[in-house]
């Protein structure tokens, strides 16, 4: 079974694809930091960052639909918070929602906070998506290893990436097998129990698989140490790219601190 892969466009030969993955990873971290550190509820700093992402998006030939779809997939949690914020922040009431005996008020400060939060979230999410869309996942992993991220963490991610789809396939097959027999008409309690059963069986299967994978690793000499990451050196292009991103981040934050101080 083939799932939508995170890095399905990452094999395209574009200028950003050819950048050193470690440089791209550092750039993404710098970019996310800049987005998070913007303090004023003003659009200009965000616009600056968004424009840079749009350029990267275009140069990397990432389809717009791809980014929008992925954004939709990662949004629910953030959206819930963004929607709640106007009601929670104290400030001047601009609108009141009447629900029978209960009332909830939207404040101006709350709306601004929600907008700010939404912008920050969107920038961070798009940055991460673009990094993954223009860099094969394995290269992100070896970049993390080169950046001295603890080996155990990188290996954990590698296994997650390798087995997430295997696990999803397994879940899909089990749900299908269940759906083939239940006709969707069983009592609610039975359906709930069968859901719990699927989760339980999946857990046991995963446990068994983990053991078998360990055997396969041990059979090939695994002794707890993992192969060292490949060595690669940054080129002048990567340096220029990194400097550009750093300059942009600095400009954004300066604008945020000074122009609207």
């Amino acid at each position: 079974m083939h799932h939508m892969m995170l890095d399905q466009f990452a094999a395209q030969q574009t200028p950003v694809r050819r950048l050193d993955p470690a440089a791209k990873t550092v750039a993404a971290i710098v970019f996310i930091l800049a987005a998070v550190l913007v303090r004023k509820d003003h659009l200009l700093p965000f616009t600056l960052l968004a424009a840079a992402l749009a350029v990267y998006h275009a140069v990397g030939k990432v389809p717009l639909l791809y980014t929008l779809k992925r954004m939709l997939m990662v949004s629910p949690f953030a959206l819930a918070i963004v929607v709640l914020f106007p009601f929670l922040e104290p400030g001047r009431v601009v609108w009141t929602l009447q629900l029978g005996p209960w009332a909830a008020s939207v404040t101006d400060a709350g709306l601004l906070r929600a907008g700010h939060l939404g912008c920050t979230f969107a920038l961070c999410a798009v940055t991460t998506l673009l990094l993954l869309a223009t860099t094969p996942f394995q290269e992100v992993l070896s970049a993390l290893a080169r950046l001295r991220v603890p080996r155990a963490f990188v290996v954990q991610l590698a296994f997650l990436y390798r087995y997430l789809w295997v696990l999803l396939d397994e879940l899909m097959r089990m749900r299908r097998a269940r759906a083939a027999r239940d006709g969707g008409l069983g009592p609610w309690s039975l359906r709930f129990r069968s859901h719990a059963g699927v989760v339980g069986v999946l857990f046991l299967r995963t446990y068994d698989r983990a053991e078998r994978i360990y055997w396969a690793m041990a059979a090939r000499g695994f002794d707890g140490r993992l192969p060292a990451p490949p060595t690669q050196r940054m080129t002048s292009k990567d340096a220029v790219f990194l400097c550009g991103v750093a300059a942009l981040a600095a400009a954004t934050l300066t604008l945020d601190r000074l122009a609207y101080g």
């Binding site: 996942f137 394995q138 789809w165 078998r212 994978i213 055997w215 396969a216 090939r220």
Partner: protein, 244 residues
């Protein structure tokens, strides 16, 4: 006579749940010999494979490539024993095929150049040259099975142990795998229900049932003995049955 590649003397194993999976298994495999290990479900075939690799602490004596297996030698023993597990998704655990094939040679401590040479040679042997950067998830079942074999071939083991190597393969992929196995000169232990495969690849067969060796002899004879196979829950290979 040269020392056998693999020697088992009265090997016994009992699972925690109490069922005795291996009840005194004795046989030896000469260097270069290709042996099929057949038997019904639950006969103890897979358990035996795990015991040979030192993953289960079995009683009795197991010698692999001249090393007596015990807790402290298990790691050395596994250098000489290449096991291909049944589910290639278990075997291929690295993000890329190339890295996976290189995993064994790297953990053996070989020089990077030697790792590269062996990885390329192993992928070439199974007909997967150029698959280095592919994700295992995007391979067909046949390609996965061959990639799994490559991960072990790259270690150049003295003995190959394959657990149901043709499970889930279509006829063409299966044919290809059989031709590949026939071309190898390594000592081989092929576990499985695919008796046609064993007839094609192995000169000798061992029939395991309820944790014991029920028969041991030339594959061509044993796998034509319908009465013997039937009494142990197996049936004649299709190629034999068709001719009868």
């Amino acid at each position: 006579m040269a020392e056998p590649s693999l020697e088992l003397v009265d090997v016994r194993y009992r699972y925690h749940a109490g069922a005795e999976a291996l009840r005194g298994v004795t046989f030896s495999v000469a260097a270069g010999e290709r042996v099929g290990l057949v038997g019904p479900n639950g006969a103890g075939k897979s358990t035996l494979l795990l015991a040979i690799a030192g993953f289960l602490a079995a009683e009795g004596r197991i010698r692999v490539a001249g090393h007596t297996l015990n807790r402290s030698t298990a790691r050395d023993v596994r250098r000489h024993l290449g096991i291909v597990f049944q589910d290639p998704d278990d075997q291929l655990f690295m993000p890329r095929v190339g890295e996976d094939v290189a995993f064994g040679p790297v953990t053996m401590g070989l020089a990077p150049e030697e790792v590269r040479v062996r990885t390329a040679a192993a992928l070439d042997a199974v007909g997967l040259s150029g698959f280095e950067d592919r994700s295992p998830h995007h391979l067909s079942q046949g390609e996965k099975q061959r990639a799994a074999l490559a991960t072990v071939l790259a270690m150049r083991p003295q003995i190959l142990a394959l657990d149901e190597p043709t499970a889930g393969l279509d006829p063409r992929a299966r044919r290809r795998l059989i031709a590949l196995l026939q071309s190898l000169t390594t000592t081989m232990l092929v576990v499985g229900h695919d008796l046609d495969l064993i007839l094609d690849v192995c000169g000798r067969a061992i029939l395991l049932d309820r944790g014991q060796v029920a028969a041991d002899g030339p594959a061509a004879e044993m796998l034509r003995d319908g009465a013997l196979l039937e009494s142990h829950g197996l049936e004649l290979p299709l190629s034999v049955a068709g001719r009868a």
